[in-house]
Symmetry: C2
Subunit: 237 residues, 2 copies
DNA sequence: GAGTGGTCTAGACCACGGT
DNA sequence: CCGTGGTCTAGACCACTCG
């Protein structure tokens, strides 16, 4: 046991991964604390911390003060999705982008929308629907409600040529939000807009964004047949 | 300009975000280097580094040696998805888990599968299909090909009671992979297994995993109607 | 070539949370 | 209480890459 020294946090990360794979530290094991590992690896504690923190962010380790660091029991694949602005999503494929506003009006939202946006059901909100095109072919339908309490400036926009999608990202910042992915059957209207048949499977993305304690907007993106999202996954156990 | 001091990396992160939102540093701006910011904020450079690195991981900043740090031009929402083992996905909802193997055989794979798995089209691979149930109701169809060169031990398994999904995660580690989400129309066979009608929209997840330079397995998960994936998104511009 | 981020160190203090 | 991870510091060297 001469104890080779690992002086880069990447090397330490690899060594920890090796021990997990080799079942030296099976799932559930509490591994030595940072100070001991630093001693064993012949490096500073901060270096060990860097390596272990990265593994914890990947979901491979679970860390708690005083309780120590343990190998996660249920390995999960953690994927990070980049969700770009729609224009970019299209132009990055080397295709031309087109935009067509369908409607824009200040309306009393349906009860469910009002509830999701946390606004008074008796007050108005801005509704915008639009079609985004890729090379003259319909790509995605955007159906959006905007909370006018949070984004009053939106009322002055007609979104005729600039999509609400892009206007919002450069105008109303948001702090957090949630995203939901589903498969749904195209309604008659959606089918017509997307040049497909009613009932055809469409990929639906629903996004709700918040600025601190206030909701900003609820968007439903309805992608035509053949659409897919791809991403890479990291390095779990 | 007394220059208040920010001594936590979170505080620095917030301040940088504030300047981006306030258009002090509009998209595309090259912001001051770490040393200067450390001076301004009255903290160590490592602390500034921690804050900026975190923002770069979120996609808000782009950093390159010598070129410096700039505010990202195209703000993207970066979402991290946790993809658990199927059993866990069901039991976490407080429902009971059921498993039913449909088939398991060593076969000559279709050309496209062989190509995706990077195996000789003339050699065999292990094919397993199974149904995962939630509370006695069909939840997802698993259709999987396993590369026997990478995972020869799989040939000895019959996957009668233990799903390939779970056997693999505890037996064959993987270093990376890719994942794809789509909406598709249920085939006749899928519809029958999922107790729905042919052509109904199903949510499809395709996963390909690698161990270093070798492919491990290609899985197609076909989720029944009503299934959705939800996650949170961070704090972009 | 030189400026910038990337990283490591040795030491210190703090905050959380099991015992 | 007191051990563990979380973080900060001041300084140093390195690696990448733009000009």
């Amino acid at each position: 046991m001469t104890g080779l020294t690992f002086n880069s946090w990447q090397a330490i990360q690899d060594e920890v991964m090796r021990r997990i794979h080799a079942r030296v530290w099976p799932p559930g094991t509490v591994i030595p604390n940072e100070a001991d590992l630093a001693l064993e690896f012949g490096c500073a504690r901060a270096t060990v911390n860097r390596a272990l923190r990265a593994l914890a962010e990947m979901g491979i380790l679970e860390r708690r003060r005083k309780a120590g660091t343990r190998v996660a029991l249920h390995p999960v694949s953690r994927a990070t999705l980049d969700i770009p602005v729609i224009r970019q999503e299209i132009t990055e494929r080397g295709q031309s982008y087109g935009y067509q506003r369908l409607s824009c009006a200040i309306l009393r939202p349906p009860a469910e929308i009002a509830r999701t946006l946390w606004i008074n059901p008796a007050s108005d909100a801005l509704h915008v629907s639009a079609l985004h095109l890729s090379e003259t072919r319909p790509f995605v339908i955007e159906d959006r409600w905007i909370n006018l309490t949070t984004a009053p400036a939106a009322a002055a926009q007609d979104f005729e040529t600039l999509s609400a999608n892009e206007w919002l990202v450069v105008t109303i910042p948001y702090t957090h939000g949630s995203i939901r992915f589903t498969a749904a059957a195209a309604t008659a209207q959606e089918a017509e807009l997307l040049c497909t048949t009613p009932g055809a499977p469409v990929f639906v993305v629903e996004r709700l964004t918040w600025d601190h304690e206030r909701t900003v907007t609820l968007a439903r993106l309805c992608y035509g047949p053949g659409y897919s999202i791809t991403t890479g996954i990291g390095t779990p156990s």
